[in-house]
Symmetry: D2
Subunit: 325 residues, 4 copies
């Protein structure tokens, strides 16, 4: 094992609040342990185009509280080709980078996994995605901020729902994973939650609405982007047809869920795994994602982390049912 | 002029943050001036169905900070008929209500105007709508909160736009009035603003985008609900076609704009006009909206207030152009 | 074991955001399982004075998002006497209450523990305190909200610190427990953290400041209410004397840390343990606190929960040192 | 009148949210009108030390939403001396700066006024201070954000006050000017407001509290930093002595009032006056503050603006009395 001397850090895939806190942690802990650190802009794209620059302690001053990523992010088709990865490797070598920290989600780690096997540059990953859909960490960086953003929005929507006695169908992010819908549904006091993981068909929702209390002044249905029952517009159309007595409205929260100042927990998580990644690289680790499981740092091989068959806690769905009484 | 003894207060039309502060001001100042105050639920609907109850000082305790309206709100078809208004009048009389404060927008005041002419119950109105589309007041209750909600959302969107170098088309409320889009467009640092009041056609936007700086990492286009150029989806489609080099996304902010804790200015405005309405009724005023113009209380006849041909300050559009350089 | 038929629920001690979500969960799940539920106002005070009332599903409508506690809270000297507890018991019996859910912190559970041993009314507790100082749960209800409130405040303070190149000493709550200071210190990018649990003397802080980078434009020192080194004013005085070159300011965050809309995580936590408490009482449990450990419901005897010798993760302090480089 | 070619912009005195939006507006509109723009760091200090740099459109990208000031701010003793001002002038000339925009409060404009009279460099000022204590503008940049920050904090405090039936004395900024306390007092539903401008002695407050409703669960007294009656601690001591039945607490909001993302209105105000300042300099104006009065741009000579004998609207105090019933 050769000694790590210069770490390259980058963000890739969808941005998530707390990515800047993670970058800061990698840069500062790298310098603390007397390594050099370089930033790579726009993920694998910048690696291929050579958009690489040296970072010092001031490069990451006053960013811990900022949403987005100062290193910018992108998806890269070129990196999916052997030629793209070769160019990337050459550029890293030209900058004397001998280890990488990749901040992102499953696409990021899929690329890192291949790269790590093809070339002699160890890569560790930090889970940066609002979806919380990675195995090997209880929470991903950005998830806590995103669910608070959703809750802020739904609290506002409930004000107007209460005033008008309306039923609102609120669509939140989570293409393959209902964890955003699940926790925010409980926290928003939702009537029902529709997520991709369960066979919540529209019939079940209808049965519930059929028996729902008539004296409730507002009702919130929380829907993940692509549950089995279709998206919020599909469901809304059906609810309107079947329950014309409700004043039904639809709200797609959309991209606001990706931005904003990171929550305290996201900054702490990002700081902890950022430091652990640098310490892991120094200790010879590679090809793993650094997460936190049961409040302890956990290293999980990329291929295992990206399978993201995150289990839905059935009890959570039961809680929604109980509390919607 | 008979002496006012009991005021009825209600909210009607779309809800707006600060309506509760206005209700509180009417109730508390009524009691301060030794009048009785009754609340009427769901606007004209409750007037017709008799959903009317006496309010005391505690009825409005701890509500100044709450979004929505504790009196609920609705639109009423029945009140558009002479029979509906007759029933409403009889119910008010049965409750000894001899004066009304109506909190709402143009629909609310249109109804109040007719009612005030048909029956001997004086009505004063408070401008409660997020749209800021009433003549006779510099600002309506709810507008300041709504524009801050928009700004919070667009700041989040900009985080992700910056990280990905994207162009975002953000649609805000304002069916006939572009004032939400106008101020938030300036405050969000928007590239361009499309509002119903101006002939901003898509060509003008295209010309701007053609010459826009290439080195800007994010671009926000702010669109009012139904500008001449169509809604955000229409415009988005055209931008995508014409400028495939931009990574263009659309965000409809929707109902979150109606809710939330009212801003300081909205609470102060609601408190001031609420007190002035009660003082106005005591002083024999009727059939007017109570607003604030140049920091002074102003009473404007309903028929004038609802014409809402609110002028767009041309200089504001110029400022957007200048600052988007 | 006699069957539980009617649960009494109350909040006691310092209020915490999420208490309302916990009350809602207890009431709704009680009704779901066909029990009756009564609310007791002002904790043990109301138990003694008989301020007890039946609750239904609407009693807890639209409160999940509210700070404070609708049942109000207080500390009770009378409940410390056998006579006080006898009166409380008689009142509970008079209302047919045969089980209790106590929401609060160590003082609350100390009282519950004694009461539970003296009388035949089973009590389960929910951890409601911003301090996170109870054993038997990873987090207490209110902690996550409080640390986000602190972060919001410190982000604002950093704006002004950066603009003026100032050093700020920020005091946060946590009389015997530095967990608020610890996580918020990491998340705020603090220079140093002073907490009761460690022998962080002023000398160590001075040594750090002596070697701190001169080119940092702002510095935040996070201090728990009563660390060994004294409070923020004491420390501020010493820093000013020793480092006259710094423009040093002090900020006591104070009571804002107790209020506000609960975060998503606090609402989920409160909902989960609220349901689990009702299920626990039905299952014959008593004299325990219901918490969440490693994402699973955990029941801990009161006497163990209140010892609150919560361990400080030493690695957290190391992270502060590393990232303050 | 010689043609303006290069504008220098700086912030001075206490920082205020919206200063960055003002800087952006000056830089962008300067460039729009084909002028050069230089930034001066740390106000008059940087003018004297020569900390001056050219700014382009990207220099002010993505800052409109940020609190604080990217140009930093300071107070300068040296600038009070003729020698200091001479050095400043020489530095400006060396950088070819032939006009200035000064963003700050009365201290800033006092300096600008003298400088403008001594040297042939025209200066226009933008009102940047949270205190709203300048004549010649309805609002200063930062005031709207600050009062919303206060309201956010007091809403949180009210949660805990309501839960515990407490009386809170909340101290807000405003050394010579009670405008923050006045509007936030109305918006927070305060029991009473103590501000420097009125002879609100403690006796009046006592009389009010003597007759206040016993059934109110919480009471907020809003106090400006240095009202006649002393600060919050002084008043708190007296209230505690006289009304031992109240559970009285004190909260000093402090420096959080200076920071944070600027509100929509502050950004719009800053953008409007920033553009107007550049247009004013081009048009030959000097030695004036650019404000907005009754929604129109207004230019006011510095010496008049800084007298800041801002009048308190007596009706506002009456409203507090009425609504505290």
């Amino acid at each position: 094992m050769s000694q790590v001397k210069k770490i390259g850090v980058f963000t890739s895939g969808g941005d998530a609040p707390g990515m800047n806190a993670a970058i800061r942690a990698v840069v500062r802990s790298g310098l603390y342990y007397n390594l050099e650190v370089a930033g790579i802009r726009r993920g694998y794209e910048g690696m291929i185009s050579g958009d690489i620059f040296d970072m010092d302690r001031k490069s990451v001053g006053n960013i811990i509280q900022r949403g987005g990523t100062i290193l910018k992010t992108a998806r890269s088709d070129q990196f999916r080709t052997p030629e793209g990865r070769k160019t990337a490797y050459d550029n890293l070598k030209a900058h004397n980078i001998d280890a990488l920290v990749a901040i992102g989600g499953d696409g990021t780690f899929t690329g890192a996994n291949i790269f790590s096997q093809e070339y002699d540059i160890p890569v560790l990953g930090l889970p940066g995605t609002i979806d919380n859909d990675l195995a090997g960490t209880d929470f991903t960086i950005g998830y806590d901020t995103a669910i608070n953003t959703v809750i802020d929005a739904v609290d506002k929507i409930r004000d107007t729902a209460e005033s008008h006695d309306r039923l609102f169908i609120v669509e939140v992010m989570g293409r393959d994973c209902g964890l955003i819908a699940l926790r925010t549904g409980i926290a928003a006091g939702a009537e029902a939650i529709l997520i991709p993981e369960t066979k919540t068909d529209v019939d079940a929702l209808f049965a519930h609405l059929e028996h729902a209390r008539k004296d409730k002044s507002s009702k919130i249905i929380m829907v993940a982007e692509s549950g089995e029952a279709g998206n919020a517009f599909d469901i809304g159309r059906q609810v309107k047809e079947r329950f014309p007595q409700y004043d039904t409205r639809i709200s797609i929260l959309g991209h606001i869920q990706r931005g904003g100042r990171p929550s305290c927990m996201d900054r702490v998580l990002a700081s902890r795994v950022g430091v652990a990644a640098v310490e892991g690289l120094i200790g010879g680790r590679k090809n793993e994602m650094v997460g936190i499981v049961n409040n302890e740092i956990a290293y999980t091989p990329f291929e295992k982390a990206i399978k993201h068959n995150v289990e839905i806690n059935e009890k959570f769905l039961k809680i929604v049912e109980i509390l919607a009484i």
